[in-house]
Point group: C2
Chain length 695, copies 2
Amino acid sequence: MIPENPSFHAHHSPVGALASFTCGAHGAKGGMGLELSGPYQGDISVGYQDAAGTLNLLPLFADNDSSESERYVEGSLQAARPQRVLKDVTREYLWATDRISAPGVTFEIVTPFFAIPDPKYATPTELAFASCPVVQVSVTFKNDGTEGIRGIFALGIDHRWSSLGERTNGTLTGAMSREEIGFATQNEEASCWMDFDPLSALNRKHSTAEFLLGPTAGLEIYVPPGEERTLEITLGFFKAGTATYNRAMSYYYTQHFTNLSQVLEYGIACREEYLELARERDEELASSKLNDEQKFLIAHATRSYYGSTQWLWDGSQSVWVVNEGEYLMMNTFDLTVDMLFFEMRFNPWTVRNELEQFVNRYSFYDEVFDPADPETLYPGGISFTHDMGVMNHWSPATRSSYEVGGLDRACFSHMTCEQLTNWVLCAGAYLSKTHDEEFLRRYRHILVECFTSLQNRDHHDPAQRDGIMSLESSRTQGGGEITTYDSLDHSLGQSRRNIYLGGKMWASYVALEKLFELSELDELSKEAREAASLAAKTLTEGYDPNLGYIPAVLEEGNTSAIIPAIEALVYPYFMGLSEVTSEQGPYGDYIKTLKKHLKHVIDTGICLYEDGGWKLSSSADNSWMSKINLCQFVAREILGFDFGKGQFEADRAHARWEREGSKLSACSDQFRSGVAHGSLYYPRIVTNILWLREQ
Amino acid sequence: MIPENPSFHAHHSPVGALASFTCGAHGAKGGMGLELSGPYQGDISVGYQDAAGTLNLLPLFADNDSSESERYVEGSLQAARPQRVLKDVTREYLWATDRISAPGVTFEIVTPFFAIPDPKYATPTELAFASCPVVQVSVTFKNDGTEGIRGIFALGIDHRWSSLGERTNGTLTGAMSREEIGFATQNEEASCWMDFDPLSALNRKHSTAEFLLGPTAGLEIYVPPGEERTLEITLGFFKAGTATYNRAMSYYYTQHFTNLSQVLEYGIACREEYLELARERDEELASSKLNDEQKFLIAHATRSYYGSTQWLWDGSQSVWVVNEGEYLMMNTFDLTVDMLFFEMRFNPWTVRNELEQFVNRYSFYDEVFDPADPETLYPGGISFTHDMGVMNHWSPATRSSYEVGGLDRACFSHMTCEQLTNWVLCAGAYLSKTHDEEFLRRYRHILVECFTSLQNRDHHDPAQRDGIMSLESSRTQGGGEITTYDSLDHSLGQSRRNIYLGGKMWASYVALEKLFELSELDELSKEAREAASLAAKTLTEGYDPNLGYIPAVLEEGNTSAIIPAIEALVYPYFMGLSEVTSEQGPYGDYIKTLKKHLKHVIDTGICLYEDGGWKLSSSADNSWMSKINLCQFVAREILGFDFGKGQFEADRAHARWEREGSKLSACSDQFRSGVAHGSLYYPRIVTNILWLREQ
């Protein structure tokens, strides 16, 4: 699709390398970065020097007048610095291809993605191909003039470069820095240079093309008058050795490649295969029945997801980590459950891998208490941490980096009940699609423990249960738990008696009913069904006819209206339990009530912004794109809503929030009135992969 | 000594770790950094929380109102942020101890240095002690009040921390980030915390002391009313694995320590030994007869030197590198020759190591040409590159990162003739002090080649030689060579017929005469003496009675006056050849002329700034502290000048240039009218170690 405004940053990332070539916003810095919480702050120079000596560049850099050379010597090495920013820039933004063009120059950045083969069963050849940390780029120069021009691609960084030509005895033409990032071509017409900046290089008065003191390295190709030339470039990333702390792990690709120049050679050799896979993805999204803004949102979300992925090797097996965007928390569980649908589409083994990590190292047992009497503790049960660490620092076993004790329903409190539902729901989705009997056998006891734990958070006395959470974890030390909506008000931020989390408890019981049935644990299956019914009943009865919706929190007279009341319907749907989400099914009343609820909050506009975008809570200006996209799917596909032209209005609003409200942060999650204010550079928005399932 | 103004940045570094805990300037960022070209940009919090809850801190941070916590949640976690910057800060700046105090708090940073044992002969125990990358710190809190206070030391960084208590099963209390930097204590009264910032930690509403999401980690100690407590802290640095590119080398300390917590444990265990060595150095400088500003300059220079040192291991032996301050070029040879005197005092083996590296990998053979006829090439000979690489990227053999071809006496041109003199002069100094017969035997042929090469740069026809350089290296590709004063005008920047470089050629011939004599190469020794005489004669005859000095360049009517005309006298002096620098000796006329020269340029003020500081060239506002300090030594100790009260005036001016003109860049080299404008954060100023030799 062609975005109405081409100026916005996007991730361009290999799979699992926690690496990104971020660029796209005009007049902004960008570049190749490893393990960063935002775009690399360098200058990208793509364009050509015309016959008059003027350098014509795409606007992929932040213009400034100073040159690094001024640190060494007064004045600059060339008298004039004729440079012009190309106008009439357009952009074609496909699922795996980002094409930025101006008259005479087309810059194409290709990031293929595909099913990552399960490392437990795949061949080394397949795994090398899937893990190779490269991005494919090309620049096509069209010379309509009567004199030759010089096409260039260059990166200005904060460090220094080595020559790949020197390193590979001429096999590659290009440069690498710290043996961590690099770019190369085998185009025989191309040459490489290094200098302070592109103008210094192209107008150099000295004779040393590779001037090693310069922070800018580039490729150059001569384009004769009337002709066209394409510079095929492979970008590569590499981080050798131990990559994570407290638990020493390396990047998985180091099992297949020993260094960056090898990665680049491989990337070049397999270029056509990678491009073909990208074309398949491009075609798939383009030919879907979605509107253009929906296609934009999917393409944008997908790029941000891969930019946060980190495929590690712990010495004996693969460890899959998705980092939490700008925060770089590792495998934040309340993101995992949202990215579940994307991973299940492409590589279910990553879901299995995450679930196993949570059980093996990031599970724990707690007790619970009634908030009216925090001193008296009752049995709780198993649950899971919010995350596994931050910025490559694994947190100690049974602890997250995020959660602290002693807070009452405030940001950084524990999310114990929600993470418990997340393990059940991920396991349910995983098992329903894969029928992985070994997994079910191995973790059946965990499912049983989860069931007990869920019920204990409702009430220790079965007679007093109503299906949703009422008791708090002892980990809060007398405080109160929160949900994933941590920076929102209590309408979505508080866990207990919350209808959003209540919905996830209902869905967890529904999933457990099914999983116990598969495990031939019939009694438990029946109990789970009863618990689900109880939850559905409580939520249904929460409906307030005077309000016209179910208030967000079923206590203390809360009257907020929230869209995510409907969120949890996605899990039984995804598990293929169509009767569960049917108005004619066992939870028919609940489903009908949710329809009424959603119709009211949308039709009255209390959960809409003026631009038509969705406002998750009527009482907070803090809306999360991943959840909006998920709830849109639930509304349309499960609850059968047709928003008419309101649909495109909302999609356009959301796309503009990303393109304009999050212009410099690639895809972001949290927006305040259309402006990203948190959860920047974020992976979670791939919930919108679900849209491709819509009929 | 007590600097008149305590607000300036200083390096505090272990030996050979290219690491620094930079701090000292008030209201400025600082912290622990590895391999940086300037101070780490973090916040250092040292002070105490008083009974009223106010945090009183030394001004070692840049004040701002935002907290990292705002990235996660609106508003901050505590309502008020009562914080006060302590006033009446004083500083005691000794050779190895930097003591920053305010009422109630004394912060002491101790950086012992000593003879690094020769790794060829020393025991592992000695080498572990010398290479251990630690800095010793202590904070003493004196509580004169009637209620308890909480003393703290904390670092705010751009990354996240792990708990050392967790990692070492309680052996250490402290934190580390990325397993690269960390701090620890074994004080049993101390506890560790992590949080967004010190105020969040000290006023935390939650109960998790080590909140892993926070970028700040600190130590805390309770100080009862009327009592005093000292927090003894060891700072440690560690970079595991391969540290340099193109040629894979690791830090030498990795041969003795496997990780950061081990380094910290060792540093704590040996703390008293380190402190004792620091006291020895402190005492040595304090008891010298130098004035306070001279003591300041030596202490400041020494810290900057160690901050740039990098002791590597190439897999079979030690490799000594000194990085070029902010530029991070590796073993820049024209710095090596200045830092020679410092290294010869403490560890001559590092000089040997550098000389061997230059021969083995960074030497080459060129041809030379007359600038009037660049096309006709004549035999040149051996010489050496400007440097060995930049920012841990080794440059290819026979190439520097800095030098490029095709430039005529402009910055980044080749320094071939000067680097040739530098090898000879370093070798002369090394051999004269160590009597290392094996080195002499092994490199005798290099000395012979250097002699030939030096003469060929004078003239290929012996009859036309006059002892100084006239021909240019073919590496300049028709351009012209420069000297180490690369960003100065031709008075010091141009090589050929320059009296500064002419002096170094003279000194090289003098050195070779001696070394050939030691090698029983009597004929060559005689030839070298003749060449030295010729050079001295040419330089002496260059004296212009109308000007009152020898003009800087003996061609084209140049009339600049330069102080470094006298610089090269230091080499024969250092080699113990006292007759050579005597007015009664074989070069008596030359020595007398240089005295006349210097007297004139100082007495007339053409080489002075208004503040009494030295101006190296009458025609350029670009004066280099390392060279000023060196020439001051030559003037006083060799030429017998007594500057009376002008001496202290100059020293105070130079000290102020560093403290005020280079306040945020630790010790710098290039100044323009007292303000540092290049060569910041620089190691070279240790030429002033020579002052300690003065009678």
